[in-house]
């Protein structure tokens, strides 16, 4: 996502990235970033909270209007409504990120990709 933002911006299109993985987006480096301190999956506001989603988008619009240098990050003022326990659990052994089935599928896709690449098909 960050790579897309950089390329569009370098070619004359102003961009704003909405996201949760702040360290990753800032590590890559993007022009404008709206950070919501939410779990991965809800970068534009909580599900079924249209009012909050409108506010998040509006923060992005204001950032487009006001940012005057790249790497400008703004953090939305919202907190995840169900508390912050998710922060302690995500990507930890206590709470596997993927089910064993999903991880197996992921590994199979990876292997399939390696094969396609070896055959020169990707």
């Amino acid at each position: 996502m960050s790579l897309v933002a950089r390329h569009l911006e370098a070619n004359g299109i102003s961009t704003v990235v909405f996201g949760a993985a702040r360290d990753i987006v800032e590590h890559v480096g993007v022009p404008r970033f709206v950070h919501s301190d939410f779990p991965l999956g809800s970068p534009c506001g909580e599900p079924h909270n249209a009012a909050q989603q409108r506010e998040v988008l509006e923060i992005g619009f204001k950032l487009l209007e006001r940012a005057f240098v790249p790497r400008t990050t703004v953090q939305t003022p919202f907190r995840w409504s169900k508390g912050e326990v998710w922060k302690d659990l995500v990507f930890t052994p206590e709470q596997p990120y993927q089910s064993p089935e999903a991880e197996r599928e992921w590994l199979e896709r990876k292997e399939h990709y390696r094969k396609l690449r070896a055959e020169g098909n990707v």
Binding site: M1, H7, L8, A21, E46, P47, P70
Partner: protein
């Protein structure tokens, strides 16, 4: 309040015990910058996503399931909300859901912003980019295709969302 999660460290530790092959995130010193060329109320906005959002009335090719091989696609910007969904599984499934597309693909919110005059218009097409293991493939093939379509549609501004 706990500060935000450091995913780069967390993910490295999480997978290190299993695969011993840490992912290297792209990193750049320089970041491009294009100021708005005209007021948002006169700008045309495109939505670009890596959330794998697609429409139930669009036939999925076998290659669409190969997210890790990359690729890009387009959706009509006026696709009805009830046809949109994401089959993605690369999000925090324990903490949230993808039931509400607007939480990661804010199409209704963008249409509202046009209706209220906050932004000028939307492009006819929105775009999706599949994450790829190969950053080179993303950079050399998928992203230039996105740029070309954005230009064809006269986009001034891009809103970008992951899942």
């Amino acid at each position: 309040m706990a500060t935000y999660v450091r995913y780069i460290d967390r993910i490295r530790e999480y997978y290190l015990s299993k695969y011993n092959n840490p992912y290297r995130w792209a990193h750049f010193e320089d970041v491009p910058f294009t100021p708005l060329k005209k007021p948002l109320a006169e700008s045309r906005v495109v939505l670009v996503t890596t959330s794998q959002t697609t429409a139930r009335n669009v036939e999925r090719k076998e290659s669409d399931g190969m997210q890790n091989a990359g690729g890009m696609y387009s959706l009509a910007a006026d696709t009805p909300l009830d046809l949109l969904y994401s089959p993605a599984d690369n999000y925090d499934t324990a903490a949230t859901t993808l039931d509400d597309v607007n939480a990661f693909y804010p199409t209704s919110r963008l249409h509202e912003a046009v209706a209220s005059g906050r932004i000028g218009s939307l492009t006819e097409r929105f775009h999706g980019v599949y994450n790829a293991y190969s950053q080179r493939r993303t950079r050399e093939r998928d992203i230039p295709a996105v740029l070309e379509r954005c230009r064809e549609d006269g986009a001034d501004v891009a809103v970008l969302t992951p899942v």
